[in-house]
């Protein structure tokens, strides 16, 4: 019988549930006595709420409660005396308004429609203050974030004195995660000190800790379920204030409460990639050897909480540059707090760095790939460590072949196909390869089937499928005999799904659990521990009178890893057609080539790469959250006006894997692809557009008006 191995293309194990509507997301559980919560947003942008008139809302049919700062029960973790006080916005805890749309009340009713209607009846009175929402106007007020250190290597002024110099500014607007599933939490108390949640979470253990912390409960009394997550891209990495509010409301009305955000509310309440302006100073010799770089970044954050990302860090290590300095500042405004979004920091930073490098390639009259090869970093100069593995050169080569790089015209604006201008571009990226502690419980059943549990999450990449494949490979049994369960905080501890590290961390735990089970079975069967002989697992159990065999295995990063710098690397290649009269851009082809170590499941990994590329196309071409500073509100807080790519925007895309295992990071040798799939896409497209037209667009998204 054919058995599946790591490196195969396995169909999703949860595919059938997802194509039949059987997969249950967090807002879809039938809970007896369920009520519906609808938030009431502040209509001012800065100030205080002085009074709330709930009378009309309370009289409306079906309304159970109107929760406001004036009547809400206290959340212990919000109070100054709390052992570890919750950071960030504390809903209904005080009357301060930090941004427009901040919830000031929560209406709970017996149906969604009644709660929605009553929310419109709540009347608030405010003491308004002047607000600051304009990033450009306030950029001088930027501050160095507490958890960030600026960086200098060598001579700060080196780039300025170099023979060839590029000094430019690059801007990215705020970008919304916009997962398809609305953020939703269903909360119900099962005792005075016990609470259960079905909530949209990328990490059930971190959610459990956050809720336990907020209500000062024993963590084991907090049950978090998040078995299917309808996309997140970083927006569900933390427990948001509205989730705490749903729990608070459930306590007050003594019934289960389901709180669903509207799409518009998701523009302010669950984070976003912050508006960022970056200045790059790049110096090189006339033959293209980089001498120095300066990379400065300003990004927006909330008045009530500091959010930082690593926009400038990529410039410290991606190329062989002796002199580097980076500076990063945040600008606090009356806006909601940002959050990590797919490729946080690096996606923003690589747009600036890779665009500047492209500009330099024209300045020194050098092929952009040649320029990158000339400055190839053989070691990590930031950490002063060797790479655990790096096959970026191979990425350049394969990508150039597949996109048809030899057809690229060295002089911009000279390659035509009919009335269209044709251009080619490259954009590279890197994202740290991480691994953290994870546990998995494996159970061999009397019929020889295997069940594995771990408290990780899956926001779409196909976690369970990859885990099943790893287990099938090691246990040497068919994948269909293995099940993998996740998204339940009562399972063995696992990290949050983020930072492209789930296969590295949880996959290692599954790997180690399978090895432990196999060793145990070998021992029971009277074989040497590491025997690879085919043994009948069910028979071993029955011969030893065992009803089942269960092992919980912990897996930790290895010490050896500290001696290396570990990254995934990518090179994206784009071919674009630009219409010179209308400024219309047709993306003809994108090839994504990735060094992410060993690829566990090619089917799902390819989809993840393609998906990240689609996200990058959105960043490059269409996505921009537009703010009206007069009122402190987004004017395009919906899918009709905030343009994520649709099917007609996307051509056939190609994902290519170098697929060579990293020898250090983990037993499987996999480095992660979630972020790398998006990092480098936007500059590849911007560079291709320059190659086609000779127009350098340094402000995303590249809409037609910027090209005519």
């Amino acid at each position: 019988m054919k058995k599946e191995t790591i490196g195969d293309s396995l169909r999703r194990v949860d595919g059938r549930l997802k194509v039949t509507g059987g997969a249950k997301y967090s807002g879809e559980y039938e809970v007896p006595g369920l009520t519906y919560g609808v938030l009431v947003p502040a209509t001012i942008t800065s100030g205080t709420v002085t009074a709330i008139d709930s009378k009309a809302a309370l009289r409306a049919p079906g309304v159970l409660a109107v929760i406001t700062p004036f009547n809400a029960i206290k959340v212990p973790g919000y109070q100054p005396e709390a052992p570890t006080r919750i950071k960030g916005l504390k809903l209904f805890n005080d009357t301060q308004v930090y941004f427009n749309g901040q919830p000031i009340a929560l209406v709970v009713a017996d149906t969604f429609e009644r709660a929605t209607h009553a929310a419109g009846l709540v009347k608030a009175t405010y003491q308004s203050q002047p607000h600051e929402t304009n990033f450009h106007k306030n950029i001088e007020k930027g501050v160095s974030p507490q958890n960030n250190k600026d960086y200098v290597r060598g001579d700060v002024n080196a780039y300025k004195n170099a023979p060839v110099k590029i000094e430019q500014e690059y801007m990215l607007p705020s970008e919304m995660h916009n997962p398809m599933e609305l953020h939703v939490t269903t909360a119900f108390w099962t005792g005075d000190d016990k609470v259960t949640l079905y909530t949209k979470s990328q990490g059930v253990i971190s959610s459990q800790r956050a809720v336990a912390n907020a209500f000062q409960l024993d963590a084991k009394n907090v049950q978090i379920n998040s078995r299917f997550v309808g996309g997140a891209f970083g927006s569900s990495l933390r427990t948001w204030p509205h989730e705490i509010a749903a729990i608070q409301a459930a306590k007050m009305v003594k019934r289960p409460v389901k709180l669903t955000l509207t799409r518009e509310q998701m523009f302010t309440l669950v984070g976003y990639r912050p508006l960022t302006i970056q200045k790059i100073g790049l110096g090189a010799t006339a033959d293209g050897k980089l001498v120095g770089i300066s990379h400065e970044s300003h990004s927006q954050t909330a008045a009530y909480e500091e959010f930082t990302e690593r926009s400038v860090n990529v410039s410290r290590f991606l190329y062989d540059i002796p002199n580097v300095n980076t500076l990063y500042k945040v600008v606090p405004l009356n806006v909601g707090v940002p959050a990590p979004m797919r490729g946080p920091g690096e996606a923003t930073g690589s747009f600036a760095l890779e665009s500047a490098l492209d500009e330099l390639s024209y300045a020194v009259n050098m092929d952009p790939i040649e320029l990158r090869l000339k400055n190839y970093a053989e070691t990590d100069l930031e950490k002063n460590l060797p790479w655990s593995s790096k096959y970026l050169k191979e990425c350049y080569q394969k990508g150039a072949e597949r996109i048809g790089w030899s057809n690229r015209a060295a002089k911009p604006g000279t390659n035509r196909d009919g009335e269209w201008l044709v251009g080619y571009g490259i954009g590279c990226g890197a994202f740290g390869a991480y691994r953290s502690r994870a546990l998995a419980k494996i159970k061999l059943m009397p019929d020889g089937s295997v069940n594995i549990k771990s408290a990780t999450s899956d926001i779409g990449p196909g976690t369970a499928t990859s885990m099943v494949l790893i287990a099938a490979d090691i246990l040497n049994i068919p994948a269909k005999r293995i099940t993998f369960e996740l998204g339940d905080s009562s399972f063995p501890v696992a990290p949050t799904q983020g930072g492209s590290a789930t296969i590295s961390s949880v996959g290692s735990a599954v790997h180690d659990a399978c090895i432990a089970l196999k060793q145990k079975l070998n021992a029971l069967a009277g074989k040497v521990e590491d025997s690879n002989d085919d043994i009948d697992y069910a028979k071993v159990l029955s011969q030893n009178n065992l009803p089942f065999l269960e092992i919980t295995q912990e897996s930790n990063p290895n010490e050896e890893a500290k001696k290396y710098s570990m990254y995934s690397f990518s090179a994206h290649f784009a071919q674009v057609y630009v219409h010179p009269l209308t400024g219309a851009v047709k993306i003809k082809k994108v090839v994504a080539v990735v060094d992410a170590g060993k690829i566990v499941n090619h089917k799902t990994a390819s989809s993840q790469m393609i998906g990240g590329t689609v996200g990058g196309i959105g960043m490059a071409m269409t996505e921009e959250a537009v703010f009206d500073d007069r009122f402190g509100r987004y004017i395009n807080g919906n899918f009709a006006d905030y343009h994520v790519p649709v099917n007609a925007d996307i051509p056939q895309l190609e994902a290519i894997f170098i697929d060579r295992p990293d020898p250090i990071i983990n037993p499987i040798g996999t480095k992660g692809i979630g972020e790398i799939s998006l990092i480098g896409v936007a500059p590849a497209i911007a560079n291709a557009i320059y190659n086609a037209t000779g127009k350098r667009v340094r402000e995303l998204p590249i809409t037609p008006d910027k090209l005519i």
Binding site: R11, R12, D14, G15, R16, L17, K18, V19, T20, G21, G22, A23, K24, Y25, G27, E28, E30, R59, P61, G62, T111, F112, E113, H117, N178, P179, M180, E181, L182, F228, G230, G231, A232, F233, T260, R263, I459, G460, P461, G462, K603, T604, S607, Q608, I610, G611, T613, V614, G615, N638, F639, V644, P645, V646, N647, A648, D649, I650, P651, Q652
Partner: protein
Amino acid sequence: MSGKKSNNPSDSEEFLNGTRRDFLKKSSLLTAVALTPGRVVKAAEEQWDEKIAGVFEKVSLHLEVNGVKHTVAVEPRVTLLDLLREQLHLTGTKKGCDRGQCGACTVHVNGVRVNSCLSLAVTNEGKKITTIEGLANGDELHPMQEAFIEHDGFQCGYCTSGQIMSAVACIHEGHAGSEAEIREHMSGNICRCGAYPNIVNAIQAVKNGGQS
């Protein structure tokens, strides 16, 4: 639609007359209550307004979902999407925007693809609704469902129900003649995970296999 039920669900005039009569009946009763202030106060104290509203705000509705006939009482403001998800517990149909902008809620109404979040439930009197739960033939998946699995036409799965319902309709409408045509006619269904190329491949496979 109390009392007289239309034989022809598309007979909009009769439908409108029906609701207008219902509305007038209800409003005159509510007016009667409202004209006696003392009683209004008492009504409020005993939540009579809620109870009265509970009875009168709802409209009787007959419709067939996945071959099963339902008679339900719904408020006129309830969307078909919320009726399916919250009352009939058919949660396969998804809510992604509630504004007709994302397609996650796509169902078939009398064989035509519709954004169920833009359709008030009461406008579906006598109609036949097919949701993702009704697409397979027992355990046997619809060819489009099979193709979505084979071509990995999804990741998180949240837009998938709508994509598949749209994809089936796209072929039936004759809008799957080429890759470009499929892309155009599938652009009302957003997939934030970015599975578009795989979705197009799945639809082409079904189209070329003639199994739609």
